[in-house]
């Protein structure tokens, strides 16, 4: 598999993020499939931040430790990453602000006076990033036209200046080799967060209510920018408590709503979650995980909130939890989450993490399934309206405010079929059973969906068990070891039958998780299955392909 990795590093505020997207788009134009890993500290200016743009001839959703090129905007970027350089790797650096000494054997230094160049061109210092991107293109024999096209698209204003600086970088660089174009056409590039937003819109989103919190703030920003395009009400309220309660207000009027947050913000939403279950007002919660407890590592990644999400909320009720593994899955399962919420009038979770949410992926619309927007059964307009009519599957026919024939009463107290509060013992049991009955049908539906992904050597007796953003890294590591990969996407209700089929014939199952205790392993054990070993990583960084393969080799 042909592949190339480019790292660009410097301080926050150096335009690393933008430059990495430009590089990804350039490779994408050449038909490569891309994945961008971003690492940055929780500050606005300074610190060390870097991105790795990995391109491949096949779909990928993980990065490696090793890189072919480093674009260094300061000395830290040289010093912290030079050991990643492969044989014949290139260190392209701003020679006005860094030195490239003691590079690994075989690596080549490509100095470029980027600071002087931007000054001469009258550009701002930040444009140094594009200067190095220009140099990269020359090094890989990429046609200048591709570079210019991408810059024109990415910089609606200041495109000319960026192109000038990029050309200076191009001219000042060396040609190392000619990289081929791939057969596939260019694909759109989306972050996991953006794919979630698009999936929600596809499924009929009308309102998105969110208090900013890493790593899901980009969903808020993305949808706010598109609010007029899709007639969305995008609201940043006073708190996460308000966010989820507002969303329930929208649902009461028949408008599909979602909220987005991370663990700390979700703590505040828990009362609203339980209320959603009791009132049977649908809501979709985008829950992006980061390391905890508490504030933890705000801009890093983790898979440590699964059991919190599985169990959050007082009382007993059913919920849907989906954990997509890449951008296409984020799009597809966000639609599913919205549809299920409205089919069953229950809360749904899209459980992501920083790796998925803020990573950029080539997005193949042909593999990202499209679903039809769903609505619950509406009431028959006979007799008085019962908001909580007890039915065979527990789902009450719905009416939305305003309805001239219906008085619609929703209630956080236990209530009767009309929504009037009750403490009657028989009614309490009836309504609790009604709500739980929905969970039974919901479980049948999710067990029928492609709730468990199976990849790799499907006949292998050895398998990796993973969830969420670890999908891509596990598929690649499994390939080198001849393993199968089992990835439950639906985590609640747990798709027991699908999972049983997926692990059929496996005699050694290794869970791979970004947490300290093996949360998915615990969940499958709870459902009566065994796990033979757990490979954890909980330093806030996702596994790289090479790192995971090494760790696995040690235990098999």
């Amino acid at each position: 598999m042909a592949e190339l990795s480019v790292l660009i590093g410097g301080r926050a505020g150096f335009g690393i993020d933008k430059a990495s997207l430009v590089i990804a788009r350039i490779f994408s134009r050449l038909g490569w499939r891309v994945y961008v890993y971003r690492e940055y500290p929780s500050l606005i200016r300074g610190g060390h931040t870097f991105s790795i743009v990995r391109s491949s001839e096949e779909k990928i959703s993980a990065h490696k430790n090793g890189v072919d090129v480093i674009l260094a905007l300061n000395q830290d970027a040289v010093d912290l990453h030079k050991t990643r350089l492969s044989d014949k790797g290139l260190m392209i650096y701003d020679s006005d602000s860094a030195k490239a000494e003691a590079l690994p054997v075989g690596a080549q230094a490509v100095p470029l006076p980027a600071t002087a160049i931007v000054k001469e061109e009258g550009a701002q210092e930040i444009v140094r990033n594009i200067c190095l991107v220009g140099a990269l293109c020359k090094a890989f024999g990429i046609d200048r036209k591709v570079l210019v096209d991408v810059l024109k698209k990415e910089f609606s204003k200041d495109a000319e200046l960026n192109i000038k600086v990029a050309n200076r970088g191009y001219d000042g660089s060396i040609k190392s080799r000619d990289i081929p174009s791939m057969n596939g056409g260019p694909l759109p590039i989306f972050t996991g967060n953006e794919a979630v937003g698009l999936g929600l819109v596809k499924a009929g989103l009308r309102a998105y209510v969110s208090y900013p919190m890493t790593p899901t703030s980009p969903v808020l920003h993305f949808l706010a920018a598109l609010a007029e395009d899709f007639d969305l009400k995008v609201i940043h309220p006073e708190s996460e408590i308000a966010a989820i309660l507002m969303a329930l207000g929208f649902a009461y009027c028949g408008q599909k709503a979602a909220v987005g947050t991370s663990g700390g913000g979700f703590c505040l939403m828990v009362e609203g979650l339980s209320f959603s279950a009791m009132s049977e007002l649908p809501v979709v919660i985008v829950m992006g995980q980061r390391p905890g407890p508490s504030t933890g590592l705000p801009t890093f990644s983790s898979q440590s909130d699964l059991h919190f999400i599985l169990n959050a909320g007082q009382g007993e009720f059913c919920r849907l939890i989906v954990a997509p593994g890449d951008a296409e899955e984020a799009y597809r399962w966000s639609q599913f989450a919205m549809n299920i919420s409205w089919r069953y009038q229950v809360p749904s979770f899209i459980l992501t993490d920083k790796t998925l949410g803020e990573g950029s992926y080539s997005f193949d619309p042909s593999t990202a399934a499209e679903m039809k927007e769903e609505w619950p059964v509406t009431w028959g307009r006979v007799g008085g309206y019962k908001r909580y009519e007890d039915t065979d599957n527990g789902v009450s026919p719905i009416a939305f405010v305003p309805d001239k024939d219906a008085v619609i009463k929703v209630n956080s107290y236990e209530h009767d079929e009309y929504g009037i509060s009750t403490e009657d013992p028989a009614m309490t049991i009836k309504m609790q059973d009604k709500r739980l009955r929905k969970g039974k049908y919901l479980a049948e539906d999710t067990d029928n969906a492609d709730a468990v992904g199976v990849y790799g050597d499907k006949g292998s007796k050895r398998a990796l068990l993973c969830w969420g953003s670890n999908k891509g890294v596990c598929i690649e590591a499994a390939k080198t070891l001849g393993f199968k990969v089992v990835q439950p996407v639906v985590l609640s209700p747990f798709p027991v039958n699908r999972y049983r089929e997926a692990v059929q014939g496996v005699d050694r199952l290794i869970a791979v998780e970004n947490n300290a205790t093996g949360q998915l392993a615990r969940l499958v054990k709870y459902n009566g299955f065994s796990v033979d070993a757990i490979v954890n990583k909980y330093d806030g960084r996702p596994f790289t392909v090479d790192e995971l393969a090494e760790k696995l080799k040690k235990i098999i």
Binding site: A242, V407, I408
Partner: protein, 281 residues
């Protein structure tokens, strides 16, 4: 008058101030309906506490929310459909304690909903504890030696936060309540009515209020300074005269209009979605 009652058994104590608020609200809804408001366009949102049972007792759309969370869903409902008349009933624990932040933001946004605060200055349903408006030294079950902190003046907070209709009533003045409620509901913008609602069981202030309340007369409701002074005349602690009526009223843009005015750029959502996806190459 249309019967706006339900089959729910009323469990308020005899003499509870909530009866006047409920009767006044029923009367306002009836009168608005006679004047052309389709009743299905009315939504009552309540919190948790004795006041909140009003959701069970009035036969219109209702959203029986959580303690302190009357206003976020009320705002969601209004933003979803600005044609609706959204009326939030909240207790003082609800609105001024657990949910004060939401109340401030409603005022800040000047969203066109109405807040009726059943302010009995005591927690009733949890059997007699102090609230943010209990006077200094209030002896309750959580403060057997008396509270050590001063009450807040919620209407002063509301004026500072941008509320555009601020009034006070008492549960002893049904006719006055009807008048104020109706004006509040018809006001375009965030309206709040602090009702000195008496809890006969845990804090019976009927006699206390009777001696001190008076109707505002000749007060200019558009004069913010005059409103400020009148709002500060009684600080919920001293034994000064207690003015009743409308303190402040102002026309100001409401948040929901900003969404209506925005318009829709693309009618075909699916086609636009495809453009957004295809455009990201």
């Amino acid at each position: 008058m249309k019967n706006l009652g339900t089959y729910a058994a009323n469990t308020w104590c005899p003499g509870c101030g909530n009866f006047s608020i409920m009767n006044a609200m029923k009367s306002v809804l009836t009168s608005l309906s006679e004047e052309g408001l389709p009743l299905e366009n009315a939504v009552l949102v309540s919190g948790i506490g004795c006041h909140a049972k009003i959701a069970d007792y009035i036969n219109v759309n209702s959203f029986y929310s959580l303690h302190g969370r009357v206003f976020p869903p009320a705002e969601g409902i209004k933003l979803a459909n600005p044609k609706l008349k959204v009326i939030g009933h909240a207790g003082d624990g609800d609105a001024y304690g657990e949910g004060l932040e939401h109340l401030i933001f409603c005022a800040k946004r000047n969203i066109d909903i109405t807040a009726i605060i059943h302010n009995n200055r005591v927690y009733g349903l949890t059997t007699g504890q102090c609230t943010p408006t209990s006077p200094l030294g209030f002896i309750g079950r959580s403060t057997p030696f008396g509270t050590k902190d001063m009450p807040i003046n919620p209407l002063e907070i509301m004026l500072s936060s941008g509320a555009t209709f601020i009034a006070r009533g008492t549960s002893h003045g049904l006719e006055e309540l009807k008048k104020i409620f109706k004006e509040a509901v018809l006001h375009k913008g965030f309206s709040i009515v602090d009702v000195l609602q008496v809890c006969v069981t845990y804090y019976n202030l009927y006699g206390y209020y009777d001696k001190r309340v008076y109707e505002l007369k000749g007060h200019d409701v558009s004069d913010r300074t005059a409103a400020y002074n009148k709002i500060r005349e009684w600080d919920y602690n001293s034994d000064s005269p207690i003015p009743l009526g409308v303190f402040y009223k102002k026309d100001s843009p409401v948040i929901e209009d900003s969404y209506l005015e925005r318009g829709v750029k693309y009618v075909d959502r699916e086609a636009r979605l495809k453009e957004v996806i295809d455009g990201a190459v």
